[in-house]
Amino acid sequence: MNKISPNLEDAVADIRDGMVVMIGGFGGSGAPIELIHALVERYRKTGSPNALTVVNNNAGNGAIGIAAMIYAGMVARMICSFPRSSDPKAFTDKYLAGEIGLELVPQGTLAERIRAGGAGIPAFYTPTSYGTQVAEGKPVAEFDGRKYVQERWLKADVALVKAELADRKGNLTYHMAARNFSPLMATAAATTIAQARQIVEPGEIDPEHVITPGIFVDRIVEVPDPKQEEALLREGAQG
């Protein structure tokens, strides 16, 4: 078993038009910038993958990462909780012009829908959003005297995540708070692609420290010096 991809280009080569792509990260924390930019580069050269649905907490910042995907024109729709940032122009302009779709999902509901998707649970009930416009059209049920809203699982064709350590069997660790949505997304996607700062031999990651077990990971690619979205923004990077 060897899940190692030789390079970023190969790692994202089979992502096709119209796919649902979950992308890990909360703002810049845990954002797999290099995988995203490999996808943008492929789109600029070949026109594919186009018309993607992207699942992330946010909708891009500045002109890099998801914002670069949006500027490039390859995103048809965002599923996110907070499409604002310090520089949200990429998404805002297209949204107000009606050129990009938005499914707004409360943050905890987004996380739980992804968890459910990965766990084989088609629907669940949550108190979140009951009585608000976000719950319009969704079934409501009462449990122990309180009202709850039915939400459905969320699954994806591909997940892109940023790990700290990986081994060829796909076991992953993360750096600081960078894990956020990634362990959930890895379970909910048909194909999970991880960039890792370092690929180590199986056994070098203490089994007690594995955060995402290899069964959820299909492909890994080493990116030894990953860029941080926040640092790039401060340098004024353009996509």
Partner: protein, 223 residues
């Protein structure tokens, strides 16, 4: 209006009611200020939705690790005993009733405990983040806010007019003029500034203010 608390003073007042040992979530922006006024001797553990318990102050400029941020995307540090977790666990802490206190800002609060704090209506990009989750689950859901809007209209209403964040969820409102609990769908006045009469306060509040027992003076130091 001549007499009212500054935002820092509202944050100070809210901080006095956070007990020792509490697990607390502070909303993005103004509510983050509450942490500055934690009374000496109390140990409070802060939760941030993106996946940290027990984070500390901002690091010095240049020492940031941008994988170590809070929900407002600001760089933070870790206290001894901090932990990381993924988003589903983070919101299990929220919805599962494990947080003691959540403190949020507001556009409007209604006497039935409804809160509107995420959308000013059509024409903008809607963004909700974790607010709709946070108002469910914490034992106390507190709002800190100016008592009125910038142009002097009441924010404490009979019913909210803006899109709701949550139904019947607010327990206490700390304003620039008063401290008000929501009990059985009524605003119960607990404290008010000595410099404003009950009638003046009522005139700035759309819904009825109810008095149960003594109303204390709201006394806050210069901070």
């Amino acid at each position: 209006m001549s007499v009212k608390l500054t935002n820092a003073q509202i944050a100070w007042r809210a901080a006095q009611d956070i007990p020792d040992g509490a697990y607390v979530n502070l909303g993005i922006g103004f509510p983050e200020m509450v942490a500055k006024f934690k009374p000496e001797g109390r140990e409070v553990i802060y939760h941030t939705e993106n996946g940290i318990l027990d984070f500390g102050e901002a690091p010095p400029v240049g020492a940031e690790d941008w994988d170590l941020i809070n929900a407002g995307k600001k760089a933070v540090t870790l206290n001894p005993g901090a932990s990381f977790f993924h988003h589903a666990d983070s919101f299990a802490m929220v919805r599962g009733g494990h947080l003691d206190v959540a403190i949020l800002g507001a556009y409007e609060i209604a006497e039935n405990g409804d809160l509107a704090n995420w959308s000013t209506g059509p024409g903008s990009v809607p963004a909700v983040g974790g607010a709709m989750d946070l108002v469910h689950g914490a034992r106390r859901v507190c709002v800190i806010t100016d008592h009125t809007t910038k142009d002097g209209r009441p924010k404490l209403l009979k019913r909210c007019r803006l899109p709701l964040t949550g139904v019947g969820c607010v327990t206490t409102v700390y304003t620039s003029l008063a401290v008000i609990d929501i009990v059985a769908s009524r605003f119960v006045l607990r404290e008010k500034l000595a410099g404003i009469s009950f009638d003046e306060l009522q005139a700035l509040t759309e819904a009825e203010l109810v008095v149960e027992g003594a109303v204390k003076d709201l006394i806050v130091p210069e901070v």
